[in-house]
Amino acid sequence: MPAAIELRDVHKRFGDLQALAGIDLEIPQGEFFGLLGPNGAGKTTLISVLAGLMRLDRGLARVMGHDVRTGYRAARRSLGVVPQELVFDPFFTVRETLAIQSGYFGLRDNDAWIDEVMHNLDLVSKADVNMRALSGGMKRRVLVAQALVHKPPVIVLDEPTAGVDVELRQALWEFIRRLNRDGHTIVLTTHYLEEAETLCERIAMLKQGRVVALDSTPNLIKRVHHLLLKLRLDGDLPHELLAFEHGSTADARVLRLRSYEDIERALSCVRRAGRRIEDMELVQPDLEDAFVDVMRRS
């Protein structure tokens, strides 16, 4: 069984900027995969290479075993891309937009599936509305629907929830999760790390065109060797603990500790200083901590 996505030594340069500097990545079929990185890390470039919107300078990119250059027809049939920009064709209604997109893939009698996609994305009431008249959130739904009209086995979502309200975000993830359960491979880029943490089985972190971390989501979080302890005391933080101070919230000080043993030491410090603990909370590291750690170290 070919990998859903296979990238070998992928390079892409724009003038002086090395946008992709040798990416190696394999995403097996059926996986929910996250692609994270700061702005300019190369996420969108990587997606563009896969989609054939950009041509790679060196290396190899395959979708479901089809080379994106020599087997571009099969590769593009296997791939559904939800672009980051909110683009639309102002001449057409929602239904026309979806029928046209479907036709580009050679699918003429696709109404049943188009209706199903519209139903799942709550677009039925807007079917005959011109694209121009839709709100941003609705346009985003149409973009998702357009990526799905040809039932691609691999779906790539480039920051699909940027500027989207909570309700749509939840409905969208519900739908995408179902597609994933049905066997579709999902590749997601997002700046909302909590989304990536709950959804993605495996994550690649990109920085300056390179993969700097690639592991299962729990493993990436396990790599973070610190805990955060939020303390609200009836007085100032004892002097010895200042070195551990990580930050503060409205009413508490946050300490960054290396291990559980450090908690005991911190608490005994507080006791020795005669302070009383009014509130205390132990914060487990999450993907955001892992992300910040990886970006700082690499």
Binding site: G52, L53, A74, V87, D89, F91, G103
Partner: protein, 251 residues
């Protein structure tokens, strides 16, 4: 199945939905040209000794409208899609570069033919034009629109802003169509300009098209068709090469 018919349909639907601008406006412009030039010139000149000036003018106006609108169809569609970003939907599809080319150019031909028919409808009541050789009319209408559709693609692919397409249209397409013998027979020009006209491919489109109406022309229609067909092959080859390379479309 191929995505070509859908892209063709979409490109036709795009101009059809705004028909007042894309079909009505050029028909009105042509009618005004006929009214004004016909009024001023009628009775003063006879073309090819036998054809009244207004009748002579009609095929020229029809062809000029076809050429300009075929160009406008591809160039405006491409530049708009590029600027708004919705070109991505075509680029993400499995369409081959030559299907992309064929769909845009055929849509331009459809626009050209529809506009040409509209211009004929509004101008014919005022003149008694003949259709001596309808096949020649059809051949030049098709080839002329196709050439301009392909040139419009080149402009649309190359341009990054709408005013660059407008420059292409105003400084190249407009002068070449106006100076191609729409309003006059090149035999009425001084020798130098007459010879220069022979380097203008648009001249052969209009001259050959007019032959289909009156059975007379400045140049042998077979030679005109050869020039126009040759030009079509040249422009198409260039456009296809641009598309194949991904120039300004696939970076």
């Amino acid at each position: 199945m191929s995505g070509f018919p859908t892209l063709l349909y979409k490109e036709v639907l795009r101009f059809w939905k705004v028909g007042t601008q894309t079909i009505g406006a050029p028909a009105l412009t042509a009618a005004l040209f006929l009214f004004i030039f016909g009024h001023v010139m009628e009775g003063r000149v006879r073309m090819y000794d036998t054809v009244p000036y207004t009748a002579f003018l009609v095929p020229g106006l029809v062809m000029m409208s076809m050429l300009q609108n075929a160009f406008a169809n591809t160039s405006s569609s491409l530049i708009q899609s590029k600027i708004t970003g919705n070109i991505i939907f075509v680029l993400l599809s499995p369409l081959a570069y030559w299907e992309f080319f064929a769909a845009y150019v055929f849509a331009a031909v459809v626009r050209g033919l529809v506009v040409g028919a509209a211009v004929l409808v509004v101008t014919l009541p005022f003149v008694s034009a003949e259709f001596r050789h309808p096949l020649w009319v059809a051949a030049f209408a098709f080839c002329g629109s196709a050439v301009l559709g392909a040139l419009g693609m080149v402009a649309g692919i190359w341009a990054e802003k709408i005013d660059q397409v407008a420059s292409f249209q105003n400084f190249l397409i407009m002068p070449l169509t106006f100076l191609s013998g729409v309003f006059f027979s090149i035999h009425s020009l001084p020798g130098f300009w007459q010879r220069l006209s022979h380097f203008n491919p648009f001249f052969y489109m209009i001259d050959g098209f007019r032959y289909g109406f009156f059975g007379v022309s400045d140049v042998d229609p077979l030679r005109s068709l050869a020039v126009v067909a040759g030009f079509l092959v040249l422009v198409s080859g260039f456009t296809l090469a641009l598309l194949r390379s991904g120039y300004k479309l696939r970076h």
